[in-house]
Symmetry: D3
Subunit: 193 residues, 6 copies
């Protein structure tokens, strides 16, 4: 396991953390088997930590017209364009697991246009990229175009809001030089059934 | 008062909102004299609303090495680059009030390099712009350069985190075509003492 | 009133100016109530001054398919993209007055796509932005598209020529760090009838 | 001689032109042996024509710290970056003649960094490119850097103003699809002494 | 194993290929255990195939100041920037194997600035990125800066020539929508010793 | 004749070169009347030299749906965008000769959209520019669009592969600061019959 720094900023000791944050770290450790570094690096600021993960969960854990795997596709696509190491590696792992597909994350992180996804998913990612890179040009015409692929307005909010949230997340990870846990790199790479 | 739509997405009736969000709206109305449209437009999604404003307040209302006026300078600079109408107009108003300066917001929204600010504030905005537009290139050398202007590492986190949060906020406002309240345009434009 | 420098370059004394330029300054002062700094900063070079304002007036004061307010919309849009403080602030004031609308200038300076203008005016500004930022790609097809919105070829020349002239003007203002007069910031911000 | 259109817009008959413009056309024809198309294309608008050529002559025909050849280097460099066919071809010809160098124009139009010019001329062109492409970032530090190469503030105004004027000129030429006269292509290409 | 198309263009049958190309395919299959798709996709044009692989081997298989792993770092960095799926996945695998490091390829493909490499290697990749994205601005000063990190002029040629060759290779892979073999994704991901 | 350096790197003596390369140099000298500097500069590395010219000839000397002149149009267009002095000047000369047109090369190097070419040739150059500057976005839809202008899939490979090869070539020329022979500048500029 690497002992390189996981952030440019101080990382708090577990025992020094507020109890609710300790609980959150224990919960994710139980689920994932380890504590993803984003939880440790952002715990440097307790209030921002709480808002960050509340926001994340509101967007990524909800039910709706997008599957959880599709939500991760948005994260991996936009994080790749933003050259965000932590998010590409960590969410790439989650995407492989959600989609039970060991190839998809590397494809989408590099160039989603050539990935093994449906035309509907490509339209979803086109719109996510628009929000991520040129949100000021989002127009009613483009809204309409996404609807043509069967997305509801609630779905479109989800697509745009996930792209927007990871615009924040990618910048925090690059600001802090956040290091992905070594565990993520190999997760979900086993052969497909 | 304009009756043009304030969002591309549905805006909930006050009475239909969860009680904690109603309380929040009443509080801001009491303080500002009106409800800024961002509260109404984002109330479309209660959980995201809560996380958004918790995050906002954690960054913008805290004490620290940056004054509240300086925090607004970061918002107005990066929102200008992102062509975000809501954030430039609403936070421009707050900046004028915080700094008791009727000229500063328009200067900073257009080109902070030619604004009436100190060299230290220009360095702060240079770094904020870096995080906003090229976060993947933030380096230790640039961190060090900001420190040379007297900013602590906690200040640098603040600068970067505000730029990152408004990367999210600008994208949500552009996604929803969020309309600034007419009131903002004229606030704080009275003559300086 | 600010006594900060209005140009990086020497600003001539009124008495040292050629008589025709003195006359021009007196005329604008009588009309506006003050001498806009662009007249003082550019008076540093008498011949260039004369050509600049002759060109300006030929484009901005003429009758034609575009209203004077629409001409100012082109100026404010392209000057915002060029981050030109002088032109955004000074022509923003003129735009508010011409259109009797206190909100329009800030909207257009930030993101004309979300401003309170007609589809025809948006098409006009799309073309102006094209000339301002990618003139080498102007094609017959785009000419035709503008015509579809009811613009004559003379109107299209106007749109393009105004965008072209302010490409010059914005660069001169940024080269000289030209400072807008304080008076402009508040002009035309009174409530609409 | 080509009979392809020289402008997307109407080109006036010589006899229909105001007398002062007729005089100007006859003068340039006497000097150059032909009428450069820019005179014909811009004659479509008499007032703009007069201001354009007054401005041009004020910048390009004056004495000062820059030679006339150096002024043409600025034109050819920035017109190349703006992909302006008319200006590259016509001013390329003038540059070859002014500098008595048949190679320089093609070098500078393509990549001035690898052209046969002095370090001082490269610094001049670096600054001209800054004004042409990112004028909003011109800083006092950059002004100082140009001064280090021996340029006076008047020279710097010349460099910046020529870049600014051809920002206008290039856009007018691309708007009108202005066609260079065939004569320009071969002018000044004879062997150097 | 996927049976999705590996190229937008026809892929020749093995038996239809010229003998020297058959030999080359058999050799790589013996070495790698499978035939990388780039050999099949480019075999569509025999003469181009031969030149491509001769060029590749001349740059990537030679001895010199750069290790073979470092050569692959250049490939993965520039291919990531060019969003080339085939080259990121295939050369990412080779990089993991060459460097016996299962993490490095994903780091470098996403953001080499935050990868586990030496300052000298970062300088190498900075120069490679310059050649890949802005070669026209390569200057003697930048050459000198690379030398400061201990690279000889022959090394610098190697760095630049590899970046240049993969500028070609990335474009061919994106033109043909070249599909990486499934085998590459998992190669070299076993734990480090 | 200029005696300025033709490369930033060592240029080998003719007598020190491998025999096959000597033969190649003699052949081109016989044909062109002089040895183009690209042959001398690249001879610094014999294996890369051989692969480079084999690749070049495979693409540029073959028969097919594109004329040799059209192949040179692709080279000149993309080399202009890449600001490659050697390729614009040398291939501009070849283009003039191939097309027996003294104007075309300067037109295409500056802005092919305003050059004297057919709509079909413009579509060819649009696609070449796409491959040269944004190959990751090449889509099946764009392939189809090129086919609409009568290009076969083999033609499309040619267009894309020439753009890709000169992505390499332009970078090598800029890396080495390769100097075009003086002879090229005037070649093919005689009047058309």
């Amino acid at each position: 396991m690497s002992d390189l720094p996981i952030s440019r900023f101080p990382v708090p000791e577990f025992n020094s953390l507020p109890e609710d944050i300790q609980v959150r770290l224990l919960a994710v450790q139980e689920k994932a088997g380890f504590v993803p570094n984003v939880f440790l690096a952002l715990a440097h600021r307790a209030d921002e930590f709480r808002a960050f993960f509340d926001y994340h969960d509101a967007l990524m854990e909800k039910e709706g017209g997008l599957t959880k795997g599709e939500r991760e596709m948005i994260v991996v696509t936009t994080s790749g364009l933003n050259q965000c190491l932590y998010c590409v590696v960590a969410h790439g792992a989650i995407l492989r697991i959600r989609e039970k597909n060991p190839l998809l994350a590397d494809q989408i992180a590099t160039n989603y246009r050539n990935a093994d996804i449906t035309p509907r998913q490509k339209a979803m990612l086109d719109f996510a990229v628009k929000v991520s890179t040129q949100a000021s040009e989002v127009s009613d015409a483009e809204m309409e175009e996404v609807r043509q692929h069967g997305f509801s307005d609630e779905d479109i909010w989800d697509i745009g809001a996930i792209a927007a949230f990871f615009a924040l997340s990618n910048r925090m990870a690059n600001l802090t030089a956040m290091r992905p846990n070594d565990e993520f790199y190999l997760m979900g790479r086993e052969d497909r059934e």
